[in-house]
């Protein structure tokens, strides 16, 4: 069964640095999402993306965050200037007519 692939699996970055989390959604899916899970807390929606633009974003998704689909296969989440509280597991997901809503394995971001 097709998977949503995320890289890297773990990233450590210094506070104030920019970080880019990468995702390869399921081929032919048209809707893409980012979620995050702070350790010990529930999974929270960040942003959804369709037709090359943001379709919905949460209040967490402030000006420090951006998303992009730079080519036909990748979907990225950029955090411009990381803060300690950005430390979390970030999940990418994609949705479409085939295979339904699928989450990736996550990227654990640690900001030090």
């Amino acid at each position: 069964e097709p998977e949503v692939t995320q890289t890297p699996s773990h990233q450590v970055t210094q506070m104030g640095q920019e970080v880019i989390l990468r995702c390869v959604p399921i081929s032919n899916h048209l809707y893409f999402y980012w979620y995050r899970q702070i350790l010990g807390q529930k999974v929270e929606f960040l942003v959804s993306f369709y037709n090359n633009e943001i379709s919905e974003k949460s209040e967490i998704f402030d000006d420090q965050f951006s998303v992009e689909r730079p080519d036909g296969s990748n979907f990225t989440l950029k955090i411009r200037s990381t803060k300690l509280e950005d430390s979390a597991m970030y999940f990418c997901a994609s949705s479409g007519s085939a295979y339904g809503y699928t989450f990736g394995s996550g990227t654990r971001l640690t900001v030090v």
Binding site: K42, V43, S48, A93, G100, Y101, T102, G104, S105
Partner: protein, 113 residues
């Protein structure tokens, strides 16, 4: 407001005991419901989902869930748990297939051998 609540924060069971994890949701309109499992150090894995049809849904690893529309509930059950079922369980709701998923706070299950 759209929300999902889970009845228990932490459940401890002995092996072979029966499991029922409660989930209630608040969501206007048609809903699709999920249960996800997250094993220690691993990613979210879909256990089962309800989109339509038979409200009793069977998933992987012997899990099942029942959608009771009148009670806005989607409880997860397993007749006999194993140590390997130790994990965090998340109930989640979505409107259409393309909406954001709204997760419950999770229930941590510990199964004692």
């Amino acid at each position: 407001a759209q929300s999902v609540s889970q009845h228990n924060h932490h459940v401890i069971l002995s092996e072979a005991a029966s499991l029922e994890l409660g989930c209630n949701y608040s969501y206007g309109g048609t809903v699709n419901l999920f249960w996800y499992v997250q094993y220690p150090g691993q990613h979210l894995q879909l256990l089962l989902k309800y989109f339509s049809g038979d409200p009793l849904v069977k998933g992987i690893k012997g899990f099942e869930a029942e959608f009771i529309k009148s009670k806005f509930s989607f409880n997860l059950r397993k007749p006999s748990v194993q140590w390997s079922d130790t994990a965090e369980y998340f109930c989640a709701v979505i409107g259409t297939s393309y909406d954001k998923v709204i997760f419950g706070p999770g229930t941590s299950l510990s199964v004692i051998p």
